[in-house]
């Protein structure tokens, strides 16, 4: 049975897409078949992390939603992005990416016309079947919108990424309330960009008691990831970095 995992944050800039790409890559490296769908139609970006250049993209999620292609035609094999240069072993897993369009016209069309959100559900299910997936990651648009709500409904697990600041705290409680009303099976929290010197134990307790949900990772503010400038998958490049090791705990939890 494939597992569907939505990664969401109430506000932008939390490191949501980065967390999604890294977790998905870690699972693919463990030998699983994984896909990432960028449902952040208004502000897509996760394809950059996988080094999927725009000229390679002939079909994207937008085309599927407008009925001009099947969703698997918009799925690109990006396994090369997670290849380990030092290792001679071929990766046994595989990772696919369904990007959203970066063309301003295509983004505008979605905003103006909308689309049948049920198609997204049909597409996810078809993708799981066609690509024989073990894991489907949905990278959502920040805030509350239809894609997010649908993604939450159909997910086995909702991962919420937040920073330790009060705007994120308040927004996350909105998402948690919606998730509970939508009877989502499991919620995990990732606290990201924790500044140096902040009391991590106290912060973790505070977050867990505020949301009655488990904190799966406490990620430090990471200068190396900033320097990488979203050009590749951090965990692949820096497998022994504390950031990577902390995220590995989440990946491990997903396989259990």
């Amino acid at each position: 049975m494939a597992k569907t995992i939505s990664v969401h944050s109430f506000r932008g800039g939390t490191g949501k897409s980065n967390s999604t790409a890294n977790l998905a890559s870690m699972l693919a490296r463990r030998g699983f078949r994984v896909a990432v769908v960028d449902t952040d139609i208004q502000s897509p970006g996760v394809h950059v992390l996988f080094g999927l250049s725009e000229d390679r993209i002939t079909h994207c999620l937008n085309d599927y939603l407008w009925g001009t292609c099947q969703i698997e035609q918009a799925a690109y094999d990006v396994t090369s992005a997670i290849a380990d240069a030092d290792s001679k072993e071929p990766a046994t897993g595989q990772i696919f990416l369904v990007p959203a369009s970066l063309k301003s016209g295509a983004i505008g069309r979605v905003l103006k016309e909308g689309y049948d959100v049920g198609l997204l559900h049909d597409g996810f299910r078809r993708l799981i079947q066609q690509l024989k997936l073990d894991y489907l990651f949905i990278d959502t648009h920040p805030g509350v919108n239809e894609e997010t709500l649908l993604s939450i409904i159909i997910s086995d697990l909702l991962i919420l990424v937040l920073r330790p600041d009060s705007q994120d705290f308040q927004g996350t409680s909105v998402t948690i309330e919606l998730a509970r009303r939508l009877e989502v099976a499991n919620v995990l929290l990732i606290v990201n960009k924790i500044p140096p010197g902040m009391d991590r134990v106290q912060l973790k307790q505070k977050v867990e008691s505020a949301y009655s949900a488990q904190v799966a990772a406490m990620l430090p503010l990471n200068n190396e990831i900033v320097n990488l400038a979203s050009s590749s998958i951090f965990a692949i490049k820096f497998p022994n970095h504390p950031f990577t090791r902390e995220l590995e705990l989440v990946a491990q939890a997903l396989t259990e």
Partner: protein, 342 residues
Amino acid sequence: MPDETVPFLDALLSRMKSAASPLRDTVTELWEKYRHLDDGNVASYIPELAKADPKWFGISIVSVNGQSVDAGDFEQEFTIQSVSKPFVFGMGLEEFGRDHVLSKIGVQPIGEAFNSITLDEASNRPFNPMINAGAIAAADLIAGKDFPARVTHLIDTFGRYCGRPVHVNSSVYASERATGHRNRAIGHLMLNFGMVGERIEETLDLYFQQCSIMVNSHDLAVMGATLAHGGVNPLTGVRAIKASYVKDLLSVMHTCGMYDYAGEWAYRVGIPAKSGVGGGVVAVVPGQVGIGLFSPKLDAKGNSVRAMKVCQDLSEKFGLHIFECGSAERSIVSQLSPVRSG
């Protein structure tokens, strides 16, 4: 103070749940299965109806908790025609009560065509409110001081059932009115027997208006869901008919709703339903859902060919026949819970 925005959120969440429900898949599959079924003919007794595109095909299901799934041309409007009949019968019941209405209109299936000119010889009543004679007698009971007031009452009532304002297609109305000689004859025959009031010409116009109300398959499903929900529109929470009269409507739909196929329908499909020559069908699964269907090609008895197929499939798949005593796990409502994609 209660948060007045909660219903908006509930509606949004319910829409998202429906979008992820297995019933959506079922409805889409049925649409695919029958979209190329090409049997039957588009009604042509008035030119306006003959303009319908035979390819149009809409399927809608609305549950008593307000969830809905739709497929195909569910937004395409068409004239309600005879699907209006049980609802106008309900207006008469609310205005005058069961005893008075039953003194004017019977509830006996007759197995004759919808436009037959036959009255019960002993009582002079039309046999039931689903044939034209009975429907005209029911339209006679639409209250109001004058014609505009009666039209307003009619339109408002259908608006409550649909959960949105409805309007009359004036060219269909004009066409029905100009060619409705047989209905005029039926009306005057009943006037002769004292079964309708002196304002029969006005009532006939009202009847032609009623038949020319524009709806789509989603509207029909909402109307059906309103009956399934005891008379309260599940989308708006507005009551369209007293709960105590819902069973009156469903009973006549069950026994007389599908023209002279009604008996076969009750036996094979077993869901109270009403069809119209515009190609619409409303079906009601009490306590669960309303089903709205639209496809203009009709069989020889005047029922939409594809709509009947879809109803039959849904009935079999989910055990919807009202005398089905089998398994409860096949409940159609359970199909509206979202499934995780895995």
